[in-house]
């Protein structure tokens, strides 16, 4: 039995690695390159002249820049919400894949064997070249004496895994996610690292005993982990509730808005304004909507409804150019949207009731988010913006997508239109925007845009960046969506024509739902691009994640003396970007597969 297995293994190895002389040569060359690369990287990372501490000690700056510590609870709530909804989604959507303990142990032993191999081939010394003198110096990095305890632990683990793999036990794969997440949480409590302090002579000293890593964050992280697991279990419990799933999906879209307008921002609400302007406007629109829903079947209302719609369109468009408070504009847009669908849906009592609920909820949400979004913040920070570091990167990535998506849809529809002027203009905009690199648009936002703004109107740089991002990503989105539009067979349009639909109905009921479904994969890759592209704002001087990484050394060199280069920080930044984009793209691949299964 064993014999055959070995034979099979050798055959597989021979086929995969040594099938021909060329292949054998390639195997050796590539292996050599990879091993030298690993040894080089290892030596590079562990050499004593690397200041990885500068990364750890500046973590707070990296994440939120100057956000005041007294309000950190808000940030933890934001992160916690993200985790709770992730947990819910994993619980709700993950398929019930079972995995067995022996299979798991096999994976783990593969990983441990890999680590053992790497530990053995790791270099003992590393070369450090002095920048000032050019002298090359051999330094010890990982002696064999240090290696032996590690290796024995790893070998022990291997034996343990082998023994456990005999137990016959299977459990849900999704549960693994929470167990995986537990590992870093435990590490937070156990691992200890030196935090730097200064003595009387401004010299670096490490306090004794060493503090646990991230002393201030371990409790929040643990709480977040617990809520993640709870959310996961809740998600599993409600797995078959379709409404719950829909609610979570919508929450995903609204969550960033809520976070950035209320939780992160800590808005200062002017009660006078609220009572004098916002509440009356809100109640007024609420009543208009509800009344329309209930009296739509009245003969007189029905007769004048089309005139009312026309008037609404004119008023809405006019309001966009007039100086009225934002709430009015948003509520008008929402009302217009609702008024178009009211006649079709509110024909029965049940339809009326559900439409009323949707109307009240959506108007309330809009008003609530706008209230937070438009008011000033209570948080006092040095510098112009409460967003900085990773929070700014996320802000740009998420809102870049939010604002560019609708614009992209409009541009794509325009470019696909049969009306020559509209088609020409949309094509022109798309091509013009795409022909120039993003960075020049950022410069446009930072220096040129001010010229085009009327007197007295001033936008924050972040807002201006978001405006150009809307156009830039919008143009790229438009091209993706156009691909989706072109994938719709002509017969679909004809069928819609034949049953007497007008252009608006055709577009919103037939064309867009199909086109958007066709482009979900490219949509995720656009979000990833948006996330990566947000790093460019460092060039126009916004304090995003990357900027902080380039700044911390210069700013702190005097007392703490982080001499050296940005290599460590840049590697850390690259790693963080990589983790996020890699996970996102993998998730989207899974999602895409699931879509493909459910559809046809």
């Amino acid at each position: 039995m064993m014999n055959i297995d070995i034979k099979k293994q050798t055959r597989v190895i021979k086929e995969n690695l040594f099938s021909s002389p060329v292949s054998t040569l390639l195997t050796f060359i590539t292996s050599y390159i990879m091993i030298s690369f690993f040894r080089g990287m290892f030596g590079f990372a562990t050499a004593p002249d690397k200041d990885w501490l500068s990364v750890l000690n500046n973590m707070q700056l990296y994440m939120v820049q100057a956000y005041p510590e007294s309000d950190f609870i808000r940030i933890w709530i934001c992160v916690g919400l993200g985790f709770i909804f992730s947990g819910l989604s994993v619980g709700l959507w993950e398929t019930e894949e079972k995995t067995s303990l022996s299979k798991l142990c096999l994976t783990f032993s593969k990983i441990v064997s890999g680590i053992i191999f790497l530990t053995i081939i790791a270099p003992t010394t590393s070369v450090v070249v002095s920048t000032a003198t050019g002298i090359r110096e051999q330094v010890d990095v990982f002696s064999y004496a240090e290696r032996i305890p590690l290796l024995s632990i790893l070998l022990g683990l291997l034996v343990v895994f082998f023994l456990i793999s005999k137990i016959n036990l299977s459990f849900n794969k999704s549960l693994l996610v929470s167990i995986y997440l537990l590992v870093p949480i435990i590490l937070l409590w156990i691992m200890k690292i030196p935090t730097i302090q200064l003595d009387a002579d401004n010299q670096r000293v490490f306090p004794d005993p060493l503090m646990p890593i991230a002393n201030s964050t371990k409790i929040p992280w643990t709480l977040i982990w617990i809520s993640f697991v709870v959310a996961y279990l809740v998600g599993v419990y409600f797995k078959n509730k379709k409404q719950f799933k829909n609610a979570v999906s919508i929450s995903w879209v609204l969550l960033p808005l809520l976070i950035f307008s209320w939780i992160f921002k800590k808005p200062l609400i002017d009660l006078n304004e609220l009572i004098r302007n916002d509440i009356p406007v809100f109640i007024g629109f609420l009543l208009i909507g509800v009344l329309t829903i209930y009296f739509i079947n009245n003969k007189i209302v029905e007769k004048f409804y089309s005139y009312y719609l026309g008037l609404l369109v004119v008023v809405t468009i006019a309001s966009l150019f007039l100086k009225v408070i934002l709430l009015v504009k948003a509520a008008l847009l929402l009302l217009l949207l609702f008024s178009v669908i009211i006649p079709a849906v509110s024909t029965s009592a049940k339809g009326k009731r559900s439409l009323t609920i949707v109307w009240v909820v959506s108007l309330t949400t809009t008003a609530f988010l706008l209230e937070g979004g438009t008011s000033t913040t209570q948080i006092v920070v040095p510098g112009s913006s409460i967003f900085g570091g990773f929070s700014l990167t996320w802000l740009l990535a998420i809102f870049g997508t939010y604002v560019s998506f609708p614009l992209g849809v409009l541009l794509a529809l325009g470019r696909n239109s049969s009306l020559p002027i509209i088609k020409g203009v949309c094509t022109g905009i798309i091509e013009l925007v795409r022909s120039v690199p993003y960075i020049t648009w950022l410069f446009f936002a930072s220096v040129t845009m001010a010229v085009f703004l009327p007197d007295g109107v001033e936008f924050n740089l972040i807002v201006r960046v978001l405006i150009v991002t809307a156009f830039f990503s919008g143009a790229y989105f438009a091209e993706n969506i156009r691909g989706g539009l072109q994938s719709i067979p002509k017969g679909q349009f004809e069928a819609a024509d034949a049953i007497g639909m007008n252009t608006v109905q055709k577009t919103s009921l037939i064309v867009l739902p199909q086109a958007l479904r066709a482009i979900v994969p490219t949509l995720v890759s656009s979000i990833i691009t948006s996330f990566k592209d947000s790093s460019l704002v460092t060039i126009i001087g916004l304090f995003d994640f990357l900027t902080i990484g380039r700044m911390v050394i210069g700013n702190q060199s005097i007392p703490i003396n982080f001499i050296g280069h940005d290599r460590e920080n840049l590697l850390f930044i690259a790693f963080v970007y990589w983790v996020f984009t890699f996970t996102l793209s993998r998730r989207s691949m899974k999602f895409e597969k699931r879509l493909g299964l459910g559809e046809r």
């Binding site: 079709a344 679909q492 069928a495 024509d497 034949a498 007497g500 009921l509 559809e599």
Partner: protein
């Protein structure tokens, strides 16, 4: 009074003239089968009747309304003329029931419950009420085509156009679609059917027409058409197809 009246209809695609002057009259309740080789303009002609294609010369009057550029006329005619396509053209992102109720709710502004009730009746009529909540992709070709017929009927049209409804179907599925169409014809619906199913033509049609090269070359009762064709072109066509 005739329900469709076409006079000297001409149509060009770029340099190519697809219709070279078609004139015909169809009475209410009549079933007309149009046949002819591919590229003869038969599909183009029936697509002109509900303005999927725009004819450039001549006139088409449907139920007293002339097809002009007036958007009101176009909408009126489209809601009176139902159409069934060769490639079904069901909306893949909607369920069978939603496919059928879409037009009544949005175009005719009927209540949802009414249109759903009507849709179920229609599905009973075409024989697949159990498939109501499936997606088109999960149905066989024959079932899809029957849904497409139900979708067109949901608008309560006065005239039904069939553009080669069985050409994309496997042989065993053709019968189920033809049965539905026969039932429809017996109920007194005005129908224009573009098809190569000569058996259907013999059994159901009131009149049969042959199109060739953008012209109508023969128009006759089915018996005369098949047994005693006047035109040489018809003889040739029949010898090829039978």
């Amino acid at each position: 009074m005739s329900i469709i009246e076409a006079k000297d209809v001409k149509k060009w695609f770029g340099d190519f003239q697809a219709l070279k002057g078609i004139s015909m009259e169809i009475q209410e309740g009549e079933v007309l089968v149009v046949c002819g080789p591919s590229g003869s303009g038969k599909s183009t002609f029936i697509r002109c009747i509900n303005r999927l294609e725009q004819h450039q010369e001549g006139s088409i009057i449907v139920d007293g309304i002339e097809l002009t550029n007036d958007i009101k006329n176009i909408e009126a005619i489209r809601s009176e003329v139902g159409m069934v396509f060769q490639s079904f053209n069901l909306f893949p992102h909607l369920t069978v029931l939603q496919n059928i109720t879409l037009a009544p709710t949005w175009v005719r502004k009927k209540s949802k419950s009414d249109s759903e009730q009507k849709a179920m009746e229609l599905l009973e009529r075409v024989g697949i009420p159990e498939q109501a909540n499936k997606f088109p992709g999960q149905l066989s070709g024959g079932q899809q085509q029957r849904v497409a017929i139900a979708r067109a009927l949901a608008m309560e049209p006065k005239i039904m156009l069939f553009d080669e409804p069985t050409s994309a179907l496997d042989p065993e599925m053709i019968k189920e679609v033809l049965d539905v169409m026969k039932e429809l014809a017996k109920s007194g619906m005005t129908m224009i059917v573009v098809t190569h199913e000569m058996g259907f033509a013999k059994e159901v049609a009131d009149r049969v027409m042959l199109f060739d090269d953008g012209l109508m070359v023969e128009e006759n009762t089915p018996n005369e058409f098949f047994d005693n064709p006047k035109n040489d072109r018809t003889k040739l066509f029949l010898s090829q197809i039978l």
